[in-house]
Structure formats: C-alpha cells, structure tokens
C-alpha cells in the first residue's frame, strides 16, 4: 500500500470532495455540467466527478451521473487525455441520439442532485453565469450564457453550488438571474410553480452553506478546519445567517484521502485548476 494512506492532512479540494460525496445517496442520479477554463473546470467537473466516484466506492455503489452526453459513464480510471476521442469512446450505459432526451430528463424531474459553479451567487442562491453589469445596457463583462444551469435550479431535487468564496462572487444580489434560487424581487418558487425545491447546499473552499432559513436565505452550515467565521464573512459581500455555534466541516479520513489520490484521480486530471495546497 502507498504511504499516502497514512497522511492525515488533505487539500481543500479533497475536503470538498469528501463533503459532497457524503451528500450523495445510493441509487441517485447526478448531473455534471461543464466548466470553462481551469478553476471553473475543477469546481464544476473535477470535484463533482471525484465526489461521485468516492460515493460509488464507499456508501453509494449505485450512484450514477450524467456527464456530457454520457449516462452512467464508467468512472473507474479517469483517462489522462481529455480530447474529443476520449469522450467519444468513453464506456457508458447510454449516450442518447439527441441531447433533447437529457434535457427532458431534467425538466421531467428525473435528477436527484446537480453541481453548480458561478461567478456570481447571491443571498437567496440565485446564480449568474450570463452577464455582469446594469440592465438595459451592454454588459460590463459578458460571461458564457446559461447552459442547463437554469434547469438544474428549477427542476433538480438537491442542487449543490460549488464555488470559491470571494466578495466578488458572493454578492447581495446577482446582476442577472441565470438560475432562480429561493426568491427574487418578491417572486418565489412557489408563486412561479417551479417543481424543484431550489439550491440545497453551497460548498466553497472555506465553508459550507445551506438555505435552511424561513425565507430561503443562505446560512453558514460549517467552516473548514482552520478557517474562522470572520474570515468567511470577509470573503462575502453579504452576511449569511449565522447560528450561535458553527461546527467545523468534517475532515476526510486518511482512507478517503488515499482513495481520492491513488484510485480516483491518480493523474490529477480532475484537479487541473487546483492549487492542491495541503490543509493544516
């Protein structure tokens, strides 16, 4: 056995992977999207896929994902290269003839969990991946569009936001609502009749949040080891709900860390945008 199994320290990404994996249940179906550029790829794809595989290897052997056009792709052994042919030849249970089937599965409520990264997240879990700036004028910063993130928040049972904490990202009110969280301008999911319950968790590099508040505002659920509540607040442009006691995010076990490093992503393909710094 590798010596890594004895290491108790872990990277922030490994902590996030373990925290997300703990939320995934046997037999559930998860939606993994795509990430533009290095860090976004790690957050939107790398961490979720590693978490999915970790769940499969531990408590949830029948957890499945949909990734790209692959339903239940084999995750035992992530290839080193990720050019087109890797995806074309990837073994999977299904690869529907028409991307409409996948999006229908989302809007018909057939997904349990999804993973979201976004340049702007606000107090109510609204997400923006479209444009930054004032309405009715050309945007100051044009982002990528919408993809299926709108559908994730509208229809999936437990969307999990995966984004690094920063004041620029965690804003009081997103400039543009790509994906509706728990409320916006008095309109709620209920008045609109949206089928899904909205975002459930927000897993960041410093802390984990949920929305377990009467009005669906963001609440600090746990801080990562070595991170203070003050540091968390300093990295947000709004104040989340904070209970009198904020627990620490559980550290992954040495076995879990070893599985991630040795079995799930030995080539570091999934963490290309990761600093991989060790936590204390």
């Amino acid at each position: 056995m590798d010596v890594a199994i004895k290491v108790t320290a872990c990277t922030t990404e490994e902590l996030m992977i373990a925290a997300i994996a703990a939320e995934l249940k046997d037999g559930e179906l998860g939606f993994v999207g795509l990430g533009t550029a290095a860090r976004a790829y790690t957050l939107a794809v790398g961490i979720p896929i590693a978490a999915a595989r970790l769940a499969q290897m531990t408590h949830a052997p029948a957890f499945s994902i949909y990734w790209g056009n692959l339903l239940t792709p084999s995750l035992d052994g992530i290839p080193e290269a990720t050019l087109q042919d890797t995806y074309t030849r990837w073994q999977a249970a299904a690869s529907p003839v028409d991307v409409g089937y996948k999006i229908d599965m989302v809007t018909a409520g057939r997904f349990d969990v999804s993973f979201e990264s976004a340049p702007q997240v606000d107090r109510y879990g609204n997400l923006n991946i479209t444009e930054i700036g004032e309405p009715d004028a050309p945007p100051k910063v044009r982002l990528v569009g919408c993809l299926a993130q709108t559908e994730h928040l509208a229809f999936i049972r437990r969307p999990i936001i995966v984004t690094d904490l920063s004041p620029r990202a965690f804003v009081e009110r997103v400039d543009f609502v790509t994906s509706l969280g728990h409320a916006r301008d008095g309109e709620t999911r209920d008045t609109l009749g949206l089928p899904g319950p909205g975002p459930e968790l927000c897993v960041t590099d410093k802390a984990i949040f949920d929305f377990a508040t009467p009005d669906g505002a963001m609440r600090l659920r746990s801080v990562h080891p070595g991170v203070s509540v003050e540091e968390v607040l300093s990295l947000m442009s709004f104040a989340p709900v904070i209970d009198s006691e904020v627990p620490e995010t559980p550290r992954p076990s040495a076995e879990t860390v070893a599985i991630i490093r040795n079995d799930i992503d030995p080539h570091g393909v999934l963490m290309t945008g990761s600093a991989r710094e060790r936590m204390a």
Binding site: D85, D98, T107
Partner: protein, 298 residues
C-alpha cells in the same frame, strides 16, 4: 433523389447579408468551419446567429464583424476560456445577445421542427431571460393548472449550416454508431428552411441504404451537401479527428491581443477554398496526427 453536391463557396453565396443563420456543433466539436471561413471570405455582414454551445464559429464571425445578434445557450471556448471577439463585441454593444437555457433553446427548435408557433417551457420562469427577449418569451397561463408557463417562440432560421460525418451525394447524412451527439445538429436540421451540410466523406448510396436508421439528416431536408474532409478543423469531428489545440491557442492568442482581423487577413481571406486551407496547414502529412485510432468510416 437528386445529387446535391455543391461547393462551400456556392452554398455561402446563397446566404445574403442580414440572414438569420443556425450554426451547428457543440463546444470544440463539429463547428461548421468550412462555411464559417467562406462567410468571412465573402465578407458577409449583419448576421443573426442561432447556436447551441458555440465556440470558434461564433468568435470568428464576431472577429469578422459579421454578426449583429446572437441567440444561444453558450458562447465561449470550453476548457480554453472565454470567446474574446464575441465578448468584446457584446460589451461594446455591437452584438445583441438573447440568452436561453438548454430546455428553452431545445423548445424553440423543436417548435419549428413541429410546425408550431411556440412550445411551453417552465425553466426560465423568474429568470433574467424571461424579460430579456419579450418578442420570443411570453408568459401565459396553463389551461390545466392555472400556473404560469412561458410560451417560447419557434426558432426561425433562414439558413442552417452543419458539419457532419458521412453522406451520399443526395444528402442523406449518417452518424457513426459510436459518436458524441451532445449537440442539436439533428434538431437544427429538422427545423431548417435551407440547409447546407459539409461532411467528412461521401459514400455510395448503397452504403447508406443498408443501415437507414443511422441517417440523422435525410435528403429531403438538404439543399446542398459539401465534401469537406477535416471540415471542422481546428475543432474536432468525433470518430474522425481530435481538436488541434495549438491552432485553437493560436487563434485565442491573437484574439486576446485584439489581432483577429489581421489573423483573418493572413490565414483565411487569401485562401481560395478549403483545399487551400488544408494545404497551408501542411496537408494530410501534417494533419493526420489528429486522427483518431478507431474509425468507422475509412
């Protein structure tokens, strides 16, 4: 059936300035670059684009000042970052954007393919997209539940350009059995008015007729079929060749530096056609290195 083989130059010559153009492919796969480069050569202007997840096709047309409007789900460069020319043009107000989520864009193309004026959709309720495009997004009331639902207007492209795999001369386009179809090329074809498809290879009709279930674009939808091996370069065609990452980075470097116009003047406008483009890249000798190892079509 009638032969529909034409050149890319002939196909593009039928697309006027100001046309609404559906552009196929997704991310770094099957961008219809042969038609895009020809649109640049023929100096087309004022186009309205309808896309799925678009990358180089839209960024190149933006660099050529050919675009006035974009409707789609994504414009960027996948793992390579954002789309510099598109982004600048949107930010300076030259390109008007109309954003749609995936189910919404699918609804718009399906509506047209079904001959309907609209399809209902709930995904965009309460989002910024609901108010951004009032001409194509209207809130109505479900006659069964009394709840709100959006009526999304059918996508109506004057022309559609796609890059496909193999076809016969009549325009029956087939996909390989193992493929990556995370795009809406088939839906775009089904909803098209005037459709041009470039393909990697032309095969005898008998080969098509042997396995008709693999035909994803039938001849009845096609106005012109263009034989263009490596037609998606520098993006990939699944089952044929991978992305040319160096070429993509070369484009992006020029784009980020604001030198795309010069890049087009040097690398696209002077070349007569796709054959000249491939020759400039070093021909098969240089390009064979992108080939995938297992191919269904020779």
């Amino acid at each position: 059936m009638k032969s529909k083989l034409i050149t890319a130059a002939e196909a593009v010559s039928r697309i006027p300035d100001g046309a609404t153009l559906a552009v196929g492919g997704s991310l770094l796969r099957r961008q219809p670059m042969v038609f895009v480069r020809e649109l640049v050569r023929q100096n087309r202007r004022d186009l309205a684009l309808l896309t799925w997840a678009t990358t180089l096709a839209t960024d190149m047309l933006a660099a050529a000042c050919a675009v006035r409007r974009w409707d789609g789900i994504y414009a960027g460069f996948f793992r390579l970052g954002l789309a510099p020319n598109f982004r600048r043009a949107v930010q300076d107000g030259t390109i008007e954007t109309h954003d749609y989520s995936e189910s919404a864009m699918v609804a718009r193309f399906r509506a047209r393919a079904m001959g309907l004026e609209f399809l209902p959709n709930r995904a965009m309720l309460g989002t910024g997209m609901e108010t951004k495009s009032p001409d194509a997004v209207k809130r109505i009331t479900c006659p069964y539940t009394g709840k709100p639902v959006l009526a999304l207007r059918a996508a109506d492209a004057d022309f559609t350009i796609l890059h496909g795999y193999a076809a016969d001369e009549y325009g029956n386009v087939q996909w390989p059995i193992v493929r990556d179809s995370d795009d809406i090329d088939q839906m775009m074809a089904s909803s098209s008015r005037r459709l041009f498809v470039s393909v990697e290879c032309i095969v005898p009709h008998e080969e098509i007729a042997r396995r008709p279930a693999l035909t994803y674009i039938p001849h009845t939808l096609v106005e012109g079929i263009v034989h263009a091996p490596r037609g998606a370069h520098p993006t990939a065609t699944d089952g044929f060749y991978d992305e040319d990452e160096d070429a993509l980075e070369d484009w992006l470097e020029a784009a980020r530096a604001g030198r795309s116009a010069e890049w087009l003047d040097a690398n696209v406008r002077p070349l007569a056609d796709h054959e000249a483009y491939l020759a400039k890249l070093g021909g098969e000798a240089a390009l064979a290195r992108f080939d995938v190892t297992e191919r269904e079509y020779a």
